[in-house]
C-alpha cells in the first residue's frame, strides 16, 4: 500500500516531508536550546563557564551549584538557599489547588444540576473573574487579608489563590457537567439520594479527567505566581518564585550563573513533574465531551 502511494506522488511527497521535518527540527532546537543551556550551565563549574562558550558541554560534571542553590545560596540577607521557600510554595500551593478544585467542582455541580433563578447570571459574573488582571485586586485584597487577620501568612496566600482560581475552576467544571445528562441526577433523586450524596457518589466519580485539567491549571498558575507572592508575603514566608528572583539579584561580587541556572530549574521542576505525570489525562480532559462516549 505504501509502495503504490509513493509511486503516484513520489516527488512532491518526498519534498513536502523534507520541508516538514526541517521545520520541526528548527522549532524543536529553538525551544530546546534554552533548556539545554540551563542544564549544561548548572552542571559546570564557574571556571568552566568563564573559559568555555555558552553551548559547550561541561568539562566535568559538578553538582556543586545544585547543592548551593538548594542549601546555601543567598536570597537577600539570608543565605539558606531555596529549600525553605520551596517548602513554603508546596505548603500553600497544595492546599490552594485542592480547595479551589473542590469548590470549583461543587460550583459546577450546583450551576448545572441544581439551577436556580439567576444561576446563569451568577455564572456570568463568576466568569468575569477570569478577566480581572492581578494588579487590580492588589489593594483591596491587602485590605481584606488585613481584616481577616491573615496578612503576610501562608493561609493568606492560600486564600488569595483560592479566590482568584475559583473563576477558572468553576468554568472548567461547569462546562464539563453541562455535558453530563441531567437524567442522572433525576434518577439518583428518585433512588433516594440527596444533594451531597449525588455529588459524592455520582458526579465526582465521573470527573477525574476534568479534575486533572483543573489541578494542572491551578498548580501551574499558583506555583508560577510571582506578583501575589511578592506582595502578600515577605522574608522567610516568600514563595520560591520570589526567592529565585532575590537569589539571582543578590550581588555578592561574582555572578554565579551555574547557581542561578540550578535554582531556576529547581523552581520549575514541580510544574514539569505535574505535566509529565498528568499530561496524558490533561489532553483527554480538554477534549472531554467533544466526542460522545
Amino acid at each position: 500500500m505504501a509502495d503504490t502511494s509513493q509511486t503516484q506522488t513520489a516527488g512532491p511527497q518526498w519534498l513536502g516531508r523534507a520541508v516538514l521535518y526541517a521545520l520541526l527540527v528548527v522549532f524543536a532546537v529553538y525551544y530546546l536550546m534554552p533548556l539545554f543551556v540551563m542544564i549544561t550551565t548548572s552542571l559546570k563549574t564557574l571556571d568552566d563557564i568563564r573559559a568555555g562558550n555558552l553551548v559547550a558541554l561541561p568539562e566535568e560534571i559538578s553538582f556543586a551549584a545544585w547543592v548551593k542553590a538548594w542549601g546555601t545560596a543567598c536570597t537577600g540577607v539570608e543565605c539558606n538557599g531555596l529549600k525553605g521557600n520551596f517548602l513554603n510554595s508546596v505548603s500553600f500551593v497544595v492546599p490552594a489547588v485542592i480547595i479551589s478544585t473542590l469548590v470549583g467542582a461543587f460550583n459546577g455541580y450546583v450551576l448545572t444540576m441544581w439551577r436556580f433563578r439567576g444561576s446563569d447570571v451568577l455564572f456570568t459574573l463568576l466568569l468575569l473573574g477570569c478577566f480581572i488582571p492581578f494588579q487590580v485586586i492588589l489593594l483591596p485584597m491587602a485590605q481584606t487579608l488585613g481584616y481577616l487577620g491573615i496578612a503576610n501568612s501562608i493561609p493568606g496566600l492560600i486564600f488569595v489563590h483560592v479566590v482568584y482560581g475559583l473563576a477558572f475552576t468553576t468554568l472548567f467544571f461547569r462546562n464539563f457537567y453541562v455535558t453530563v445528562p441531567s437524567d442522572l441526577t433525576k434518577a439518583a433523586r428518585i433512588d433516594g439520594a440527596g444533594f451531597f450524596t449525588i455529588f459524592w457518589r455520582i458526579i465526582l466519580p465521573l470527573s477525574p479527567a476534568i479534575i486533572v485539567v483543573s489541578v494542572i491549571w491551578q498548580f501551574t498558575q499558583i506555583w508560577n505566581d510571582f506578583l501575589f507572592g511578592v506582595v502578600f508575603s515577605s522574608g522567610e514566608r516568600q514563595p520560591i518564585t520570589v526567592a529565585l528572583n532575590n537569589l539571582v539579584n543578590t550581588s555578592t561580587g561574582i555572578k554565579e550563573y551555574n547557581v542561578d541556572m540550578s535554582a531556576a530549574i529547581i523552581a520549575g521542576l514541580p510544574t514539569l513533574f505535574v505535566y509529565v505525570v498528568a499530561g496524558k489525562y490533561f489532553l483527554r480532559g480538554l477534549t472531554a465531551g467533544a466526542v460522545k462516549g
Binding site: K186, A187, I190, G293
Partner: protein, 371 residues
C-alpha cells in the same frame, strides 16, 4: 393499592402555562399512555408525578396519598429514562442496588432483590459489567431492572424505547407488555410514538398544548377520535381529513366529494344524521381512515353503507402487507389501503370501495367533533 389520581393540575413557567388543568385517574394495575407531539407537556406531567418538578396548582395522589409536597424519594415511584441514566461509574449490580443501598435495605435483602430482578430480565450474565460495556438494548434492560428492584407503587417510563433501533424497539415493546401482565404494576408511560401508544396502553391520554384532548382505550381513540387533532395524530398512515360541503340526497345527510370530475355523495352514518343536518350547506371536515377506502378483494362486496367509485391513482406505495394508493378528493391527497394483489399503477383508474360506517365529521373552525 397503587392508584394515581391527577386532579386539575396546572403548571406555569412565568407567564407561560405549560399544563392547563389535567385530570387523569389511573386504576390499580393500569397501563396509561401519555402521547402527544413534542412540547405537549407529557414529559412535564411525568416529571411532576415523579416530583422532579413542582406543580403550580392542583393535586397529585399516589395510592390515595396526596404527594404534592413530597420529594421524589418519598413518593414510592420508580422511573425509566429515555437516556437510561445508568450511573456510569457503577457496575450493573450496583446500579440496580443503588436505590436499595441509599434506603439502607439490609445487604442480604439487596442481593436477593438484584438476583430476582436480573433473572426476570435475563441480565444475570451482565451484573458485573459497567454500563459502557453494554449495548443499547442491554442498557435498557438494566434501567428497567433498577426500577423493578424498588418494587414501587407506580412505574414511570419516559420514552424508554426511543433510543433503540427499530427491531429492538419492537422486541422491547413486547417485553414491557409481558412484564406488565406478569407484575400487574401500575404504569404511566410517555411516548410520542403512536404505535407504542396503541399496542401497550390500557388507556391513552392524547395531549397537545398542555391539555388532554382525549382519554380512552386505544380502540376508542382510533375509531372515535374526540377532535380533529386526535384524528390526525393517531394512526399511521394518518386519517384522511378532507374539507367537503354538507348536502342532502335520498333523505340522508352527507358530504359531496369529487376527484376532479364528477361529484359523488357520501352519506353519513345514522348516528350523526341529526348532528350533521345542522351544517347543511356549509363546509365540514370529513375524516376517513385509509383502510376504509379499499378494493373489492380486501373488503367483499357492495353494501348499503359501502359505495364503489372509480378514481384516478396518483401515486402507489407498496408496503408489503398493504399497498397504499394516493388519490385526490376535493383537491386534497387521500391515502387508500388496498390489497397488494390488486395491481394498480399510477395514472390508472382504480375501483375503490368507500366504507361509510366509520366516517367522522369535524367542525372546521373549532376542530371539534360533529356528533
Amino acid at each position: 393499592m397503587s392508584t394515581l389520581s391527577i386532579i386539575n393540575v396546572k403548571k406555569r413557567y412565568g407567564p407561560v402555562e405549560v399544563l392547563k388543568g389535567i385530570d387523569i385517574d389511573v386504576k390499580d394495575g393500569e397501563f396509561l399512555i401519555l402521547v402527544g407531539p413534542s412540547g405537549c407537556g407529557k414529559s412535564t406531567l411525568l416529571n411532576m408525578i415523579a416530583g422532579l418538578d413542582t406543580i403550580t396548582s392542583g393535586e397529585i395522589a399516589i395510592g390515595g396519598r396526596v404527594v404534592n409536597d413530597l420529594s421524589p424519594k418519598d413518593r414510592d415511584i420508580a422511573m425509566v429514562f429515555q437516556s437510561y441514566a445508568l450511573y456510569p461509574n457503577m457496575t450493573v449490580r450496583n446500579n440496580i442496588s443503588f436505590g436499595l443501598k441509599i434506603r439502607k435495605i439490609p445487604k442480604g435483602k439487596q442481593e436477593e432483590t438484584v438476583n430476582r430482578v436480573a433473572k426476570l430480565l435475563q441480565i444475570e450474565a451482565l451484573l458485573d459489567r459497567m454500563p459502557s460495556q453494554l449495548s443499547g438494548g442491554q442498557r435498557q434492560r438494566v434501567a428497567m431492572g433498577r426500577a423493578l428492584a424498588r418494587d414501587p407503587a407506580l412505574f414511570l417510563f419516559d420514552e424508554p424505547l426511543s433510543n433503540l433501533d427499530a427491531k429492538l424497539r419492537v422486541e422491547m415493546r413486547a417485553e414491557i407488555k409481558l412484564l406488565h401482565d406478569r407484575l400487574g404494576a401500575t404504569i404511566v408511560y410517555v411516548t410520542h410514538d403512536q404505535i407504542e401508544a396503541m399496542t401497550l396502553g390500557d388507556r391513552i391520554a392524547v395531549m397537545k398544548g398542555g391539555e388532554v384532548h382525549q382519554l380512552a382505550t386505544p380502540q376508542e381513540v382510533y375509531d372515535d377520535p374526540a377532535d380533529l387533532f386526535v384524528a390526525g395524530f393517531i394512526g399511521s398512515p394518518p386519517m384522511n381529513l378532507v374539507r367537503a360541503p354538507v348536502a342532502h340526497k335520498n333523505g340522508k345527510v352527507g358530504v359531496n366529494l369529487h376527484d376532479g370530475g364528477e361529484t359523488f355523495f357520501l352519506a353519513a352514518p345514522d348516528a350523526v344524521q341529526n348532528g350533521l343536518s345542522a351544517w347543511n350547506g356549509s363546509e365540514v371536515v370529513v375524516g376517513i381512515r385509509p383502510e376504509q377506502i379499499t378494493d373489492d378483494l380486501a373488503r367483499g362486496h357492495e353494501r348499503s353503507d359501502r359505495i364503489k367509485r372509480r378514481a384516478k391513482v396518483d401515486v402507489v406505495h407498496p408496503t408489503g402487507p398493504d399497498t397504499l394508493v394516493l388519490i385526490q378528493l376535493n383537491d386534497t391527497p387521500v391515502t387508500c389501503r388496498v390489497h397488494p394483489e390488486t395491481r394498480v399503477q399510477s395514472g390508472d383508474n382504480a375501483d375503490l370501495m368507500f366504507d361509510l360506517s366509520k366516517l367522522v365529521f369535524f367542525d372546521p373552525d373549532k376542530e371539534t367533533r360533529i356528533r
